[in-house]
């Protein structure tokens, strides 16, 4: 443990002791060095390398949150799913939109935050045809005076933060093969880490590092194929036997299937500067129809730890070997140091897509615990000795027959929208979904640049009838502390603040503030469109705490609105439409930034 981290923990512990009226629970969970003290900016979507989405500002508290009001708004001019967070660096806000991926810079120092400049990357229009789940973008990142972001058609672009001029542009993805890029890059140790999307299009997944200065490719690791391609070498020491062996990326697939086997990296990357490792998950194997790909399908649906400098894999853990339900493992990894059996362990906290909350040792990849945080009937549990998920036989999709009532559904218990972790309460705030599905697998035909899915899916609300859940999870005691049932699926990430208020948005456009300890609804605001964007909190040039979020419904869950899909077809949008048939009557498409602040 580094010194900086410790002092930070101490500071927060002190805060905790004074402020908590219920008496101090000895919450010893801490964020590591990856989460430095808050400088009031928001420079990357996860807030910090530890992906805590936690703002240390305390101006907004449960006591005054009721007075929160609009500071300013800004229309992005798009009406597709808006999943990106605004970035705030030194008095300027940067906002990247869904396709056509405009990058806006707003001057926060002036009243009403007028636009400073707009950067239009002009991605290929055809990319829209290969973007599986709306033409979203999950955000940009700021590093060393540059804003770096990806475009839908597979380019990574660095733009000068001041002038809005392009510094470099590198093409990584090939839309002819169905590759797009929707994820937010991460800049770590001088490397821009980017992964591709297209697990539904039969692409071959990879993650690449570009040199931050030049945009040149530093390394690229595939997620299928021989060890050479996957950058598996002598450092690779997976914890579990199932992940050991030579060329598993070939041997755990039928011949040639690995070439079109998915396993992309379209989600979140965390970075531990102390260990020099990046952590990220890989997506589902392609096609969805599991019949077509006997074997464990390495290295899909698992989490990799890689050396940030060389890309060499250090460990891997596969959460769903031979994935049956599109349970990508791309969800965020929150870095924390927890007490474990007398000692302290540097761990990853992962609310997994398959419904288990994983606590993993981030040095070795050992699963310390895996506990269901939502309703699961497709797996019995995780065998901690072998690390394997224990599947339920009768929920296995079969070719030519619909398997009914699989929980969680294809988007999992939680999809891409990250949880927030508050070191103050020691809780992980998980905005997630409660959907089950019927799934029928069929022979998928591979045609480059077209979907490679091989399944029909119909989703619907899980037990209880509520489609969304907001859970506050205690990772130490492995239980939920409180739970808020939301009618619509929750597709927006959470934001935790040191003031004891947690924010999230709903798909019908409510932006909500709840008490971090009790879950009590403190304040809400109805925006113009459903919220799937990432809320942030920053310190404005005037020193006040601002909360910002973009309302623009869409994404996989909101495609029915943003893509004008027809609710009469329950299988539309890979079956999500069936679960949100009522959404068009509750919200409309949009793309508006809302910034809130307490009155002066």
């Amino acid at each position: 443990m580094a010194r900086v981290g410790r002092s930070w923990i101490a500071a927060w512990s002190a805060f905790l002791l004074c402020s908590s009226p219920a008496g101090a629970q000895p919450h010893a969970i801490s964020a590591p060095r990856a989460a430095p003290p808050d400088n009031g900016n928001w420079e990357m979507p996860g807030k910090n390398y530890a992906s805590t989405r936690f703002s240390a500002m305390r101006q907004v508290t449960p006591a005054n949150v009721r007075k929160l009001g609009i500071a300013f708004t800004f229309s992005t001019g798009t009406n597709r799913g808006f999943e990106a967070p605004p970035l705030v660096v030194g008095g300027t806000m940067y906002l990247v939109t869904p396709f056509p991926n405009y990058l806006y810079a707003l001057d926060l120092t002036k009243p009403g935050a007028p636009a400073k400049w707009t950067f239009k990357p002009k991605p290929a229009a055809a990319a829209q045809g290969v973007a599986c789940c709306d033409v979203v973008n999950r955000g940009a990142v700021h590093s060393k005076g540059r804003i770096i972001f990806n475009t839908l058609d597979g380019q990574t672009i660095a733009v000068d933060a001041k002038s809005g001029r392009q510094v470099w542009r590198t093409r990584l993805g090939n839309i002819q093969k169905g590759e797009t890029i929707t994820m937010a890059p991460l800049v770590a140790n001088g490397k821009v880490i980017v992964g591709n999307s297209g697990g539904e299009m039969g692409v071959r997944g990879w993650i690449a590092a570009l040199d931050e200065g030049s945009g040149r490719l530093a390394w690229k690791a595939f997620h299928t194929g021989p060890d050479r391609d996957v950058l598996i070498g002598s450092r690779f020491k997976p914890f579990y036997a199932m992940d050991r062996g030579k060329d598993l990326g070939v041997k755990s697939w039928p011949p040639e299937a690995w070439k079109i086997g998915g396993a992309t990296a379209w989600g979140w990357i965390s970075y531990d500067p102390a260990l020099g490792l990046i952590y990220y998950g890989t997506s589902n194997p392609g096609p969805w129809n599991p019949d077509q790909r006997p074997g464990d399908n390495k290295w899909s649906t698992g989490i990799f730890a890689r050396d940030v400098n060389t890309g060499q894999a250090v460990w891997f853990y596969q959460s769903s070997p031979h994935d049956l339900f599109d349970h990508d493992d791309i969800n965020e990894s929150i870095l924390a140091d927890i007490p474990w059996r007398g000692g302290r362990r540097p761990v990853l906290l992962r609310p997994g897509r398959n419904g288990f909350f994983y606590v993993m040792d981030r040095r070795t990849g050992q699963v310390l615990s895996a506990t269901p945080y939502g309703y699961i009937n497709s797996a019995k549990g995780v065998d901690l000795r072998s690390g394997r998920l224990i599947p339920v036989k009768e929920k296995e999709p079969r070719q030519g027959r619909v398997t009914r009532n699989i929980c969680p559904a294809a988007p999992g218990a939680k999809d891409w929208n990250p949880a927030a972790f508050s070191p103050v309460t020691g809780l992980v705030y998980i905005p997630h979904i409660n959907l089950c599905m019927d799934m029928g697998a069929m022979e998928a035909n591979y045609i480059a640049g077209t979907p490679y899915v091989g399944a029909d899916v119909k989703m619907y609300a899980g037990p209880g009838g509520n489609r969304g859940v907001f859970t506050a999870w205690d990772p130490l005691r492995r239980r939920k502390v409180f739970e808020i049932k939301e009618d619509l699926p929750l597709w927006s990430p959470a934001l935790a603040t040191a003031g004891g208020v947690v924010f999230y948005g709903t798909m019908d456009g409510w932006f909500k503030a709840i008490d971090a300890r009790s879950g009590k609804l403190l304040w809400r605001f109805k925006t113009g469109s459903g919220i799937i964007g990432q809320p942030i909190s920053y310190r404005g040039p005037d020193g006040r705490q601002y909360i910002a979020v973009v309302a623009g419904v869409g994404g996989w869950a909101g495609a029915i609105v943003s893509g004008k899909l027809d609710p009469r077809d329950p299988t539309a949008a890979l079956g999500f439409v069936n679960a949100v048939k009522d959404l068009p009557s509750k919200t409309t498409a949009g793309g508006m930034l809302y910034v809130f602040a307490l009155p002066r």
């Binding site: 055809a126 829209q128 789940c133 035909n445 004008k564 077809d569």
Partner: protein
């Protein structure tokens, strides 16, 4: 009404029934002769200034439009050529919905065929050279069934697949608007 008139009416009705039946059930295992292909010129209605009349319907449309075997083949192709991946069973997904009344590039069979053959800029790939013209026409014939365009006698109620919405034999016929607003 004279009995002769009635008889001739009856004869005419029978004749029509015969012709219609032959047309709707005729199986053509052979593709179109080499050289004929999908009309590249069947452009969207919206191209014509003032919404004036477009070109006449391609005569080959009649071979496919209400032809049950062609529609059935089209249905199979729709599944196997991955149309279903983007457009689902008409509800859309990556691609726009096909069962509603909005046709960005025209809802006539030759316009649909042309859209399939040439592709469209916002993501629809071009299939000319990847599917035969016969297959493209059949696909177009099937696509139109999603919004209830062809006669209900020539469509299949369902596929042997997961039930996806109302049976096609009961799909109400959507008026075919072209929609500029649907275009981005």
């Amino acid at each position: 009404m004279s009995s002769r008139f009635r008889a001739s009416c009856l004869a005419a009705a029978v004749l029509v029934a015969v012709l219609v039946a032959c047309d709707r059930e005729e199986r053509r295992s052979r593709s179109k002769p080499i050289g004929e292909n999908v009309p590249a010129g069947a452009t969207p209605d919206t191209i014509y200034a003032g919404g004036g009349p477009g070109p006449a319907l391609d005569p080959r449309a009649a071979l496919y439009d209400n032809n049950a075997p062609a529609i059935a083949d089209g249905q199979q192709l729709y599944m196997r050529m991955n149309c279903v991946g983007c457009h689902s069973h008409g509800g859309g997904g990556m691609g726009p919905a096909l069962m509603d009344d909005e046709w960005r590039y025209g809802g006539r069979i030759d316009q649909v065929a042309s859209t399939i053959a040439e592709g469209r800029p916002n993501g629809m790939p071009a299939w000319r050279g990847r599917l035969t013209d016969d297959q493209i026409w059949k696909l177009a014939a099937y696509v139109r069934t999603l919004s209830g365009q062809p006669s209900k006698d020539s469509v299949a109620s369902r596929a042997d697949a997961m039930s996806a919405g109302a049976p096609q034999t009961l799909t109400p016929r959507e008026p075919a608007h072209t929609s500029d607003s649907a275009q981005q």
